[in-house]
Structure formats: C-alpha cells, structure tokens
C-alpha cells in the first residue's frame, strides 16, 4: 500500500512496489496487489481493505503510516506486515520495520558534491521536514564538512543546517513548480550542485538545472536517477540510494516461505542497504582521486573510523 506519491513517484513508493514485483518474479506463487492513498486519511481504510483480502504480507510505505500500521498490526496479530521507513520500539512481533541509515549514503553524496563544485556552494532541500528526509540532508551536510576539514576548503551548504536542524522545504511532495523555483533561487545564490530530497518535486529541480545549463548539476535521491528519470541523466552526477526494493523483496520472499520474522531491519553501507549509484555520464568527469577517496570513506564509515553525526540515524 503506497503513500500519496503512488507507485510511479520514481522514488520510495516506486521502489517498494518494485520490490514486490521482484519477489513475484523470483517466486511464481506470489501474487501482488497495491492500493494507493490519495490523502493521509486513506491509510486506515486502505490497510483494512488489504487485511480483508488475507494477504500473506502487507507492505505499507512511508514514515507517515507508522501509527496506522501499528494499530492494524495490533488488531490483527496473525497477519504479517512490513513498513518502509519506520521502526517500532519495542518491536512488534508481526511487523518488520525496514529502515535505512541514509545519513551514511548522504555523507558520500555530500563529499562527492563538495569535491565537484566549482562555485564552492552546494545546496539541498526537502519535501517535508520528516526524519526520513532530514537524515539525508544531515548526511549530505556532514559529508561536505568532512571534505572541508580534509582538504582545508570552505564549501558552503545552502538549504540545511545540521546544528539547528532547520532548512529549506517545499511543503509537499507534489508541487514541482515549487521545486523548480527553490532550485532557481539556489542557483542565483551561487550553488552549482543541488540535492533535492523531495520525491517527484525533485523533477522540478531537474527542470531548473537543465534549463540553466551553466555547469549546474545535481544528485538524485532514493533510486538511481539515470534509471528512474532517464531524461535528466546528463545532469545527474550520481544518486544517493537506499535499497528499498531489495529489502521489500527479501521480506516478501521470507513471508511466502513462512520464514517471516518481525522486528527491525536497518539498511547500511555495510549490508549494501544504502549507497551511491554509478556515475553514468559522469564516470569520466569525476576525478579518479575523488572516486578513490569516496571508497576509503565508505570503508571508514563501515569500520566506524568515520562517524556520521546525524541525530535522525536509526539506533538499532
């Protein structure tokens, strides 16, 4: 069951549905169905509708569905649920929370952006101020600061301040014109790499970047942008991804084989649950030295020698 973005948002709803489809492909006994929520008040009726259909597992998508899923899970203790972007403490027996430490991936994205900027200014903005959004922005911010510290530079981040936890948001995940305007303002204020964390609204940002043309580029979020929004591949340096599809696939297959276990799953750089995508058109433009630094940092984060400071990181 998807959030208001729908299965075609080229972002987390799309990835979740893709995970279900992948599972069905791997195991022909699995059939899939989805319901889309048009407003937040649809969550509870939609979950109930799916419960009535005796699904083997119900995957709800999005932080905003946390409460609705919890009450459904408590009311139907024999049904299995998985929820993307949410976890419960204490964990519930019949719900698997799929969460992702995207601050780690955002850190790499921030470092990459700081290494690629010509103007010394990079920018990020969010759709709504939710922990699953700001965690990316935190990681991005940290990555830029780490670059500054290592290279003795002073790359500025517009749109987010980790210390005050305050920044730029468009207010929803649908108004693409707003994403475009925010991005144009960033560009006017000197930013040349933009990292929107706003689902479909990011497409507005991509339109602004493409129209500007003057050496401004961006990072896509959640999925590999060159696959989910190929018309803009030429402006995507890379994408900061989280492996929602593979996590959903894994839990769905487990449920189909009666191996479902409730609790929490945390996607990290170490288990490839989060990461940055290939550079595609930028493979030759990202300097080899920067690429190898990114690999070192990835190892550093995995072995704990580099700390990512985001307060939104999952703890379990």
């Amino acid at each position: 069951m998807t959030d208001t973005g729908g299965i075609d948002d080229r972002s987390f709803n799309a990835s979740s549905y893709q995970g279900l489809l992948d599972a069905a492909k791997a195991d022909p006994n699995i059939t899939t169905a989805y319901l889309q929520s048009t407003t937040q008040s649809d969550y509870v009726p939609n979950i109930n509708a799916l419960v009535q259909r005796n699904c083997g597992i119900i995957v709800t998508v999005g932080f905003l569905m946390g409460d609705a899923t919890q009450s459904a899970a408590k009311a139907h203790p024999t049904d299995h649920f998985a929820i993307v972007d949410y976890n419960y403490s204490p964990p519930l027996n019949n719900v698997l929370g799929l969460i992702f430490n995207t601050a780690q991936a955002g850190f790499l994205g921030g470092y990459l952006a700081a290494g690629m900027t010509k103007t010394g200014t990079v920018a990020t903005f969010g759709g709504m101020k939710l922990p699953t959004v700001t965690i990316y922005m935190d990681g991005f911010y940290d990555g830029v600061q780490y670059y500054n510290q290592k290279h003795n530079k002073n790359v500025k981040v517009l749109g987010w301040n980790e210390k005050t936890q305050n920044g730029t948001f468009t207010g929803d995940f649908t108004d693409q014109t707003k994403g475009k305007e925010v991005t144009q303002t960033f560009i006017q204020q000197g930013a040349d790499i933009i990292f929107p964390v706003a689902g479909n609204v990011g497409l507005g940002a991509a339109a602004a970047v493409k129209q500007n043309g003057n050496g401004v580029h961006m990072l896509w979020v959640d999925t590999d942008g060159c696959i989910s929004a190929p018309q803009y591949c030429s402006i995507f340096i890379s994408s900061v991804t989280k492996g929602i599809a593979s996590a959903v696939k894994t839990v769905t297959l487990a449920a189909a084989n009666n191996q479902f276990k409730g609790g929490n799953y945390v996607g990290t750089l170490a288990n490839n649950g989060v990461g940055i995508s290939p550079f595609h058109d930028f493979a030759s433009k990202v300097p080899a030295s920067l690429q190898s630094e990114l690999n070192q940092i990835k190892q550093g984060i995995i072995n704990g020698s580099i700390k990512v400071a985001s307060p939104s990181q999952p703890t379990s």
Partner: protein, 422 residues
C-alpha cells in the same frame, strides 16, 4: 440618538487608528531592536542582476544593523503619523504599504548580514512566475462570477490543462499544440460546470469541488496507465524557451523581471488587459455585469442571461487551461500527479481578495507569489525561523494584508444563484 451613534463611530475610528498606528510603531521597534541591534556583523549585500544583461547594475552594500535601525525609525514615525493625523484613504494605504515594505527590507538586511549577496531581481522574478497560474486561474473565476456563476473548479481546470498540454505537446512534438490542447481541456471543464450549474441547477460549490476531485482522479488514473509506461512519447513535452523583448529586456532591473520570460508571461499580460478592458469598458462587459448583478432586469432589456453564463464559463475555462499548461510546458516540462497542488484555490482567493477586479486579483496573486519567493530565500539564507512557520507565511501574509487593506468585499449581487426563467 443619532448624535450618540455618530460619537460612537468617531470613537471607534479613533481607536482603530491608534491601534493600527501602535502596530506600525511596534513593527518599527522590532526592526530596530530585533533586526538592528541584533544584527550579525557584516554588510547586507543586494544584487540586482541575474547575469546576461547588457547594462550591469552594481551590488548595493549596506551596513545591516544601521540600515535596519534607520528603516525602523521611519516605521515608528509613520505609525505616529497614522495615529496622530486624520489621513485620507489613499494616504492611509500608502502608509500601510510603506510600513510593510520597510519591515521586509529590514528583515532582508538582518538575514543577509555577512551572508552571500541576496539576489533581488531573482526574488522578484520568481514572485512573478509563481503568480502566472494564479492570475490566469483568477481570471477564470472572475469571468464566471461576474455573470453570477461560482467557479470552484479552477483547481481542476489547471490540473487538466497541465495534463492535456503535456500529453499533446509530447505526442505531437509541438509545444503550441500543447498550449491549445491545455486551453481546450480547461474549457471542457468549463462546459461541464456550465451544463450542471445552469441546465441542471446543481449547487455550484458542491459541483466545483466534485469536478476537482473528478479531474484529480481522472488525470491520476491516466497518468498511471498511460504516462508512466509511455513516458518518453506521452510525458516529455519540453518547455517553452524564454523570449527577450527587444529593447525592453535591456532595461536594468525591470527588464529581466518583466520582459525576459517565456510566452506564458506575455499571454498573462494580454489576458489581463483584455479582461480588464472587456469587463469594465465595453458594452459586452456591461451586459456580463448586468447578468451578474440583476439577471431579471438584464433579461427584460433583451440580454440573453443563460447564453451569457455559458459563454463566460467556457471562456474562463479556456483561460484557466492556459494557466494549467504553464505548469507543464511553461515550467517543469512533465506532468506529475496532482501537480496543481491547491493553486486553483489560491487563485479563487486572489479573485475574492481582489474584489472581483482583474488588477485587484493580480495584486493578491503577486502578493502571494512574493511571500512565497521571500519564504524560499529566507530559508535558503538560513534565517533562524523554523521551516514549518516559514512555509505558513505566504498564506498568513495574504490573510493579514487582506484583512488590513481590503476589508469587507462585495460580490456580484446574484453570485451563486441559478437563474430560472419564469
């Protein structure tokens, strides 16, 4: 008795003047104490070019704290003037506008102190582009309501216009075809609205809301089924390039804001002028207004009331459809589900706050656009205001200013009432 009433009225106006004057002085005090004395070190730098102009305007660099104190003092003085003297209506409005402007300038000085230069032209440019769909939507509402049919379906007209424009322009590979299709799709919703409201006397408010939900569902369904699988053929229409008006675009500051945009801005100018002249300075407009104020009287002098109402709604739909087309082929270059995001309702509000006049509606739309752009720049420059509060400001500003400046509005006398021939 009448003496008492008169006295009471005078006391009331005196109170109101004092309260308003005190409010202006308080804003001035906030400028001085908050933005002036609380200023960060460093200058506030304002930039007046977006690049590519022939005449270069130098940056304006102001000492942030001192400037805010000066602006605040002016504001306090204006507050005293407002409370102390009996000002005429125009003078009152000028004072209110001046106090608001001083406050915004002081705020910008405070936010930009020691920061990167703040691009004023960029700020005004995005205010104007933000208001394009709002102005066109408001014109749609205005044309309908001047003939006494309420059009809540502006939101749906924008959304279906955006959808049709994206699909047609993408499939045919011609942007102008998208523009026409978007307009026609909006007109189609106008026809539906007219048939149900005029022929079948359905409640106009309910009808408008239902049409909006219908369009949201229809475009959402078609988007899932057609636009996602065939994205490259059906949802990659491209975007109109900018047209520089020769000569005018080279004027510093003004040029890049008003004369260096894509075709939609120029269409908006034209529509605005046509509606203003048409409704208020022609026989045609007089008849429309007669239908809106007193349809029975209009009918007796030979004006075809029902026909006029149909025509107005379809015309309005055609215009709102262009506003919708702007969202896709004028701005982001692809359709997205529910992408009108409530702008149709803001357009409706702009029309009402603009007292059912074109220029009034434009004023309200620009105010909203400006507040929205200002909110962006404030958050980008890292103003220490929580982002949720900032996101509220465009709506808050519109309500405050409208309450302060516009006051009570009067709608066309027959607005919303179906006309039944007896």
């Amino acid at each position: 008795m009448s003496v008492v009433a008169a006295t009471r009225r005078r006391v009331a106006t005196l109170d109101r003047r004092t309260v308003a004057g005190a409010f202006f002085a308080a804003l001035g005090a906030l400028d001085i104490l908050g933005f002036g004395l609380g200023a960060h070190a460093g200058d506030a730098v304002f930039r007046f070019s977006v690049g590519g102009e022939s005449a270069h305007v130098p940056d304006l660099s102001l000492p942030a704290g001192t400037t805010a104190i000066v602006l605040g003092s002016l504001s306090v003085a204006l507050g005293a003037l407002y409370a102390g003297w009996q000002l005429g209506r125009t003078a009152r409005r000028v004072v209110i506008a001046a106090v608001m402007a001083l406050f915004i300038l002081a705020l910008l000085c405070w936010v930009d102190a020691g920061n990167s230069p703040l691009n004023i032209v960029g700020l005004l440019q995005s205010s104007l582009t933000r208001s394009i769909p709002l102005v066109l939507g408001a014109m749609s509402g205005l044309l309908g309501e001047r003939a006494a049919v309420i059009n809540i379906a502006i939101e749906g007209q924008l959304l279906i216009g955006a959808f049709a424009a994206a699909v047609a322009a993408s499939a045919a590979g011609m942007l102008w075809l998208g523009l026409i299709s978007g307009s026609l799709a909006g007109g189609l919703i106008g026809v539906l609205l007219a048939v149900f409201a005029i022929r079948y006397l359905v409640d106009q408010i309910v009808l408008g809301v239902v049409l909006n939900v219908f369009v949201l569902g229809l475009t959402g369904y078609l988007y899932d089924r057609a636009l996602v699988p065939y994205q490259t053929t059906l949802n990659s229409p491209g975007v109109y390039g900018t047209i520089r008006v020769p000569g005018l675009a080279d004027i510093p500051i003004i040029g890049p804001i008003f004369f260096d945009s894509n075709v939609f801005l120029y269409i908006t100018y034209a529509v605005l002028l046509l509606v203003q002249v048409g409704v208020f300075h022609t026989r045609w407009g007089l008849r429309v207004r007669a239908v809106g104020e007193h349809p029975v009287a209009a009918e007796t002098v030979g004006i075809r009331v029902i026909y006029t109402r149909y025509r107005q709604l379809v015309l309005g739909g055609l215009i709102a459809g262009i506003g919708g087309a702007y969202l896709t082929i004028g701005s982001v270059g692809a359709f997205g589900k529910g992408m009108s995001s409530g702008q149709g309702y803001i357009a409706l509000a702009a029309m009402i706050f603009g007292r059912w006049t074109p220029f009034g509606a434009v004023g309200a739309a620009l105010l909203f656009g400006f507040a929205s752009a200002l909110q962006n720049i404030l958050s980008i420059l890292g103003a220490p205001i929580p982002s949720d509060i900032l996101l509220m400001t465009p709506y808050l500003v519109v309500i405050l200013v409208v309450a302060g400046l516009v006051g009570r509005v009067r709608m066309p006398a027959a607005d919303g009432k179906p006309y039944i021939k007896s």
